[in-house]
């Protein structure tokens, strides 16, 4: 216990100032036979304990790749991290040994994947796969691990957990499978959970249930949560702040309600306008024109310029920096003032 600690009354050293997780200037590229695909190009974001960060973007925007880099589950090669830092509780994970990082995975940082059916091993019972967390990390016996697995299944409200613990993933419904994924991530009560499109594969009604469960458990354990999604509807209810990604960069970040009221980047604005609304019934739905950029040949200047309704000459030549546009808000647009002020 340090002096600072006592005066601040914080549970662990450094937590008063340093966030739980901080990503600094992260770059990730993939070497393919057609060239180098730049998937992540200088991402910065941070999450505090108990806070939810939503990372928003189209597929290919680099949101999942960033998450995989944080988890340390990128395929390297073809992946490579040429630059950047990922600070977890103040320590750069990219400088840790493989064994140190492995011990953090599951225990301190856990991940929930999109498709629970393919993400669970089809030939092992869910009880075995849940219990494995305790056996591998805590050295529990097979029997004790199974008891823990049943406990976990109860906690995520899977009915008749005791009878179903020996069932296989394909015997559960989609919603139940996603609950099992959540249970697996929660098993060792980690400090940070990364959920990569956790509800995309589910029915709309089940989506809400799973999202509520996740949010509730996050509050219970005061975990940090990174929620990766392309669904703006999911975000509004659960997130504290939002980072919008495009072509491997963050183009806008802001507290959640600000962004819905007054977006500061044309891309975010386009995303918001493309949500169907009841009061616009009968009108044509807005769509951002064009396609996401080819990561092998990202457009020069602002990557969004070929699709942007506001693009000027400067957008084709100069990469915009993340301007501070308000309290804890940033926008990487040369014309953020015009976007905001409209």
């Amino acid at each position: 216990m340090t002096v600072i600690d006592q005066t601040a009354g914080a549970p662990a050293p450094g937590t008063t100032t340093a966030p739980l997780l901080e990503v600094r200037d992260l770059h990730v590229e993939f070497h393919t036979r057609d060239g180098v695909a730049k998937a992540v190009n200088g991402v910065n974001y941070s999450v505090n304990a108990g806070e939810t960060l939503a990372v928003l973007g189209e597929s290919g925007s680099g949101k999942s790749v960033t998450a995989q880099a944080i988890m340390g589950i990128l395929d390297m090669p073809p992946g490579r991290i040429p630059r950047g830092e990922i600070l977890f509780q103040g320590r750069d994970m990219l400088k840790m040994s493989a064994e140190e990082r492995r011990k953090l995975r599951g225990r301190k940082i856990a991940m929930i994947f999109q498709d629970a059916l393919s993400s669970l091993n089809p030939v092992l019972s869910v009880g075995y796969q849940l219990g494995e967390m305790f056996r591998a990390h805590q050295g529990l016996s097979r029997k004790a691990a199974k008891a823990k697995a049943i406990e976990l299944m109860d906690r995520v409200r899977i009915p008749a957990a005791k009878e179903r613990v020996n069932d296989y993933p394909h015997q559960f419904s989609g919603g139940m499978r996603q609950r099992i994924m959540i249970a697996m991530a929660l098993a060792l009560e980690p400090d940070l959970i990364i959920a990569d499109e956790p509800t995309t594969a589910l029915d709309v009604t089940v989506q809400a249930q799973v999202m509520d469960l996740l949010a509730e458990l996050q509050q219970e354990f005061t975990m940090g949560l990174i929620l990766i999604t392309h669904d703006l509807g999911v975000v509004a209810d659960v997130a504290d702040k939002i980072a919008v990604m495009y072509a491997g960069r963050i183009v806008e970040d802001a507290p959640v309600h600000e962004i819905y009221k007054r977006p500061a980047h044309p891309y975010t604005k386009g995303l918001l306008q493309s949500i169907p609304r009841l009061d616009q019934k009968g009108q044509e739905l807005y769509a951002i024109k064009g396609l996401p950029p080819n990561l092998l040949r990202i457009p020069s200047g602002c990557a969004f310029n070929p699709r942007c309704p506001m693009a000027q000459d400067i957008c084709r030549t100069e990469v915009p920096v993340l301007h501070t546009v308000g309290d804890r808000r940033g926008s990487a647009c040369h014309f953020w003032k015009e976007t905001l002020g409209e």
Binding site: F30, T32, G60, D75, P78, L291, N294, L295, N305, R307
Partner: protein
């Protein structure tokens, strides 16, 4: 192979990036769609273009392709590199080693081993090609129809191919050919077609069933496309790739099977010139004159290797998921 025509997935699979990176041709509306001088490059690459692109960068493809070309040429015109008759033998030279003009030496009957090795290519290559062509046509038609129409026709065909799979091909060959007697290129090929077609039929059936379930095929059906049009325009191109792969590899194994049957004395028979026969005759003298066995055995192995290598290269090119 459901999405083989989808260039996007091909590129992604090749890149191996988790989560799938969108690697697309840039067609942003922001840039003017100017006509490219190289029109072919602007088109999205189809499966076949992509496969060719992949093959053209593989040394294995060129090595095996050239070897096969060479084999085909000398099976048609063996006189190009060996003008003597393979049946002109001089018993006085029995088992002699190599001399000038006879680089591989002489066999038991005093025939020139080099000439016989060159002339032996014809039997192997023709049996291989005939058998493969027959098996492919019969197998894809029967299997394709079974997969497309399903029902009782499919059920019967599946049972029949089960029956053929129950007979080990070598055993069946020995029985069939010893009963038919008169082993020659035609009978050996016919036997292979009779016993080999279920292999292709299974592949074709599976491929057609997969293709049939594709959304765009369903759409074509909903638009009222007739059976013939459906099969030829929409399903056949999709089912072709796996059939080509299996057929190329099968070609190599048929050549090997012909030699084995000839070796066992039920395939081609003297005075036919076949590597299998020569190896069989040389086998009793392997301790005294190994050259009699090694040359035809080497030629046979290289031939089989060439076809299997080609099949391997084609498979890698057509099925990027296996990389």
């Amino acid at each position: 192979m459901s999405d083989m025509y989808d260039t996007q997935s091909l590129v992604n699979a090749a890149g191996g990036a988790p989560g799938g990176l969108p690697v697309q041709e840039p067609h942003g509306p922001g840039e003017p769609a100017k006509p490219s001088p190289d029109g072919a490059r602007e088109k999205p690459r189809s499966l076949w273009n992509d496969a060719w692109h992949d093959l053209s960068r593989k040394p294995m493809f060129y090595v095996s392709g050239l070897l096969i070309l060479f084999l085909i040429v000398i099976s048609i015109w063996p006189g190009l590199i060996a003008s003597a008759s393979p049946l002109a033998c001089d018993l006085a030279k029995s088992q002699d080693g190599p001399t000038s003009g006879h680089p591989f030496g002489f066999d038991q009957q005093g025939c020139d081993v080099y000439t016989r090795v060159v002339h032996g290519a014809r039997a192997s290559v023709s049996v291989g090609l005939f058998a493969t062509a027959g098996v492919t046509v019969l197998g894809s038609v029967l299997g394709g129809l079974a997969g497309y129409f399903g029902g009782w026709w499919d059920a019967i065909l599946s049972r029949i191919s089960d029956i053929f799979f129950g007979i080990p091909i070598l055993l069946g060959g020995v029985v069939f050919l010893s009963v038919v007697k008169g082993g020659n290129v035609t009978t050996v090929s016919i036997f292979m077609i009779l016993l080999g077609w279920p292999q292709i039929a299974r592949i074709a059936r599976g491929a057609v069933i997969t293709a049939k379930q594709q959304d765009y095929v369903q759409a074509a059906r909903a638009l009222g496309a007739g059976n013939a049009r459906m099969l030829l325009r929409h399903i056949a191109p999709n089912a072709l790739a796996p059939i080509i792969v299996v057929a190329t590899i099968a070609l190599g194994t048929y050549i090997s099977l012909e030699a084995t049957l000839s070796f066992l004395g039920v395939g081609l028979k003297p005075p036919a010139v076949s590597w299998g026969i020569d190896i069989s005759q040389a086998s009793s003298q392997i301790r005294n004159a190994p050259h009699m066995l090694l040359w035809p055995a080497g030629a046979l192995s290289v031939t089989v290797l060439a076809f299997i290598m080609l099949g391997d290269a084609v498979r890698d090119a057509l099925d990027p998921k296996l990389r």
